[in-house]
């Protein structure tokens, strides 16, 4: 009969405890993101295009805030949440435009250095039933986390986060 050595048992216990702690710590780290730094591309009422801001998800609304301005989007009105991928120049904005005129094609060379981005598209209806679409860009890997939070809060999604992991991003299923 196989006899368990108490030392082996203890070390196995210690190892499993360490692994469990590590796993829960990683999960906690993932869940720590409650405010997302985003760029509002288009779609929110009273917010200008390409505005930088922060998004938070509460029990019944998604709130975009930039300075003192806030825009709320009711979770119950969300029809679909979709993620996608994009990229932009490392040096973008006005400075990026200026670098296009740099001599000896160096501006073009700089265009090769790119930053990957996630896009999050939210399809929602206003209280009158009117269709809207809000598009945000986020740092790579954060769109899925934000989508998870929205779905957990009750937002509808045609492609659920688990399915999305196995699909190419940004492609909507044909209805």
């Amino acid at each position: 009969m196989f006899k368990l050595n108490p030392r082996v048992c203890l070390s196995l216990l210690a190892l499993s405890a360490t692994l469990t702690t590590c796993a829960s710590f990683t999960q906690a780290q993932e869940k720590q993101i409650t405010t997302f730094k985003v760029v509002h591309v288009i779609g929110l009422e009273a917010i200008q295009h390409n505005t930088k801001g922060r998004v938070t998800v509460s029990k019944d609304a998604l709130t975009f805030s930039t300075g003192p301005t806030k825009s709320d989007l009711a979770i119950s009105g969300i029809q679909d949440v979709l993620t996608g991928a994009d990229s932009q120049r490392m040096i973008h904005g006005s400075l990026g435009t200026l670098t296009m005129f740099a001599p000896y094609g160096s501006g073009r060379f700089l265009s090769l250095f790119r930053q990957k981005l996630d896009t999050l598209t939210i399809e929602y209806r206003d209280p009158n039933g009117g269709l809207h679409g809000a598009i945000f860009t986020l740092p790579q890997g954060e769109a899925a986390l934000l989508k998870d939070q929205l779905v957990a809060a009750g937002a509808k999604a045609t492609v659920v986060p688990a399915e999305e992991a196995g699909q190419p991003t940004g492609k909507k299923e044909a209805k």
Partner: protein
Amino acid sequence: MKLANGRGRIVGSIAAVALGFGFAAVLAARADAPPTPVHASAIQIEQIQSEDVKLPAEFQMSMYEHVVEEIGKTKRFAHVYRDGDRDAASAPDLVTLHCTVTGFKQGSAMERQVTTVAGATSITVHLEFTDKNGQKLFQNDVKGNVRFFGENLRATYNFSKQVAGVVRQDFAAVTPAKK
């Protein structure tokens, strides 16, 4: 001298053929346009359909938002209603715009920025305007491109500008109510 005359003739005939093609293209594009501008006080813009063409969600929604915005700027309608808006039912002379994506090519912003000539993004959409009874008023095909500068989503803005151009051309300006 003879050679110069021959070359002149060739250039002349090429120019004439090009002009002919140009006129034909313009006539074809305007073939289905209404003879006189249509009067309507309200328009409802239906959700953009892309059943046959795989269009990323961000393009679809960006196109929709830009079209709503740009049609609002044309000042041709007192009310611009979104898809599903319940208030649209009460508008007496409502026109509905149906957009169907017939072609989409997602280019690359990096290719454009590096090469200038490659990596264009283009979207082709079939527009159909119908009256409140569902009768077709006219239709048109519109294209949105990004060829040189700008991110891919800019094609959706360029497309909406084209749609606004069609609306400006084919709809009469809304007359302000008398006081």
